[in-house]
Amino acid sequence: MLSIKNLHASIEGKEILKGINLEVKPGEVHAIMGPNGSGKSTLASVLAGREDYEVSSGEISFNGKDLLELEADERAKEGVFLAFQYPIEIPGVTTTNFMKTALNKIREHKGLEPLDAVSFLGMMKEKMKLVEIDQALLSRSLNEGFSGGEKKRNEIFQMAMLEPTLSILDETDSGLDIDALRIVANGVNKLKNDDNATIVVTHYQRLLDYIVPDFVHVLFNGKIVKTGGKELAHELEAKGYDWIKEEASIA
């Protein structure tokens, strides 16, 4: 589904990603871990099509399409979804209105009719239940004055609404209390099927107790320096990153 080959990307002349390789197949869950500043969010942003980053070399293909050729909104229409580490506040735009616009743009791309008001509301209700988010929150301005946890929940709500094929969750667990973490993870799991895939960026093993990864990758200094199964996350939790850094510097 997703194939990243030797991806190099920089911002303001500073190279952040220094040769990333990653293969993701339908039905898989990949976890990306790594110390602060290693480039996890940069990778997520480059995948989502943020224009501030310059991709100097490498390839990203997504379901046979050259992702780097597509604009951010075209990628979303193709099924790429980024749950932001820091969701943006947009005063004056309600979540409801935002979702209606987004959903209908994506439907239009797929050749579907726009959803009528009744079906849209029905869908909203169903997905709201999934992440246990309050109706009142959704009629407010997008993320404005939301608590950290509410913002994260709203991201997963949007994911549920848009039904992407590739979801990239950038530290969706940070800022969530244990109940919220369970609810969010539960939501993600319910949305999982054989045709879609998830990339989970996290610092904590505890999320991976709920969303069980098929692969765990360690990103360090712009490269994936180690890949393993879910036990690698436990090892990192116990030992920290120093041994990885040592291994990487020896190699």
């Binding site: 989502a48 099509g49 943020r50 224009e51 501030d52 604009e71 951010a72 909104d73 990628r75 979303a76 229409k77 979804f81 980024l82 932001f84 969701p87 943006i88 947009i90 005063p91 004056g92 735009v93 935002f98 979702m99 616009t101 987004a102 959903l103 743009k105 994506i106 791309h109 301005s141 949007q158 848009l162």
Partner: protein
């Protein structure tokens, strides 16, 4: 046609005044004419404000008038505006007391004021000077106000075609009064100088809309003054809407005298024109009054819009709120100058002001200047102005959800404008403005 310089323009208007005076029969002894003569004398002292005039530094009306206006091709008083044509510019679905002006003069045939709601009096300002002599003497051009300038003097000198409106005490008027000012510039250049006096008596409520349109490709120069007197326990809502032609030059002063404990709400919406200068001058004379001023300018092309506002807190315990927002594209230019006076007696004043601008192109320009003069010590005042671009993080967030760039931009700009538009309390009017904005964005 050679370009006129300021001295030519002064001479031209003085000549116009003489011609106007000669056309008046038997009026020259009346009190109104004494006011006109006083005003033209005042005007003569300094003439047309030009760029050296501090308040017109960014908006050189004399220069653009000299450049665009051809005094040899001046419209005579004949015009042929049909109701059909005029109605295209009426606010759709609006139930209103409709007043139509052509070239600054009230046109009874195009207006719809046969059955006025109870407590509403409207008539031509000329006759009102006789019929409502007492009100006239008390309120017409008698209240001094900060921000009045030589354009106001010029307007007073030509007082002729405007209207007098009186809302009786205790009248709650649901139906708004909608004034449509048409300049007929189809065959020639045109000058209009409507002058209105509105009196909202005690405990009344009313709304006034003023909308300006120039028809045709020739140049129009509008120099309008509307004086509004608001008495005790009244609420007055005022809307100004400018979607003018590219050849329209306009100076408009709205002078609000909050003589009583009252609420005044003003919304100014500017969409197009050559150069539009809005002077909103408000004086608060009585304690526990409230003043709200909102504005939106959505500009492109070469449109130049200058909002000068003054709110003069003369007494304690009043509140003023001001929020102006600008969206500028093309080579447009936006100017905001917001003066707040808090006089020594005006303790416990709350005054808030903000001016925010989004600039969409490299060639558009904004000048914004808050001017606070505070003489009292126990006050709460704040002001802020920003000039920026669309927020790229917000744009990316919307686009990351499948919303294309154009739609995302339009959503953000609509959101930006929304807290001004939400203050348009007349639904049909708000819908029109929202549609105009959507067409543009």
């Amino acid at each position: 046609m050679s370009k006129l310089i300021k001295e030519d323009i002064d001479k031209f208007f003085i000549g116009q005044f003489e011609a106007f005076e000669n056309s008046l029969n038997g009026e020259s002894k009346k009190p109104l004419h004494a006011k006109r003569k006083q005003a033209i004398d005042n005007f003569k002292a300094l003439g047309f404000p030009h760029a050296k005039h501090e308040e017109y530094k960014y908006s050189n009306i004399a220069k653009i008038f000299g450049k665009l206006f051809n005094v040899e091709n001046l419209s005579d008083d004949s015009f042929s505006l049909s109701l059909d044509e005029a109605s295209k510019y009426f606010i759709p679905e609006l139930d209103a007391i409709r007043l139509v002006f052509v070239n600054g003069v009230l046109d009874n045939k195009l207006s719809d004021m046969d059955t006025l709601p109870k407590g509403v009096h409207i008539q031509a300002i000329k006759t009102a000077a006789d019929d409502y002599a007492e009100d006239f003497e008390k309120h017409f051009n008698t209240h001094e106000i900060e921000g009045a300038d030589n354009f106001s003097e010029l307007n007073t000198a030509f007082t002729n075609g405007g209207i007098f409106v009186k809302i009786d005490a205790n009248a709650v008027v649901e139906t708004p009064i909608a004034c449509y000012y048409f300049n007929d510039a189809k065959n020639a250049d045109v000058i209009s100088q409507p002058r209105n006096l509105v009196i909202a008596e005690k405990n009344s409520q009313a709304s006034l809309i003023e909308s300006y349109v120039t028809l045709g490709e020739n140049t129009s120069f509008t120099n309008a003054v509307t004086e509004i007197v608001v008495e005790d326990d009244s609420i007055f809502n005022y809307y100004k809407y400018q979607n003018e032609s590219n050849q329209a030059i306009q100076v408009g002063a709205t002078m609000v005298h909050q003589l009583g404990k009252s609420v005044f709400n003003g919304v100014t919406l500017s969409l197009n024109g050559a150069m539009l200068r809005n002077n909103l001058n408000i004086a608060i004379h009585k304690e526990h009054s409230e003043t709200n001023m909102y504005g939106l300018y959505l500009l492109d092309g070469k449109t130049h819009v200058d909002n000068h506002t003054v709110v003069d807190h003369k007494v304690p315990n009043c509140e003023s709120n001001e929020m102006y927002k600008g969206i500028l594209d093309g080579q447009s230019r936006g100017i905001f100058n917001g003066k707040i006076f808090v006089r020594q007696d005006a303790q416990k004043t709350n005054a808030f002001q903000s001016n925010r601008n989004v600039v969409l192109s490299d060639d558009a320009e904004v000048d914004t200047k808050p001017q606070l003069e505070i003489w009292a010590d126990d006050v709460q005042c704040s002001h802020g102005c920003t000039v920026g671009q669309l927020d790229t993080d917000q744009l990316f967030y919307l686009r990351a959800r499948g919303i294309d760039k154009q739609t995302a931009k339009s959503m953000l700009l609509n959101a930006f404008a929304s807290d001004v538009l939400s203050n348009i309390k007349i639904e049909a009017f708000r819908t029109l403005i929202e549609n105009k904005i959507n067409e543009r964005l």
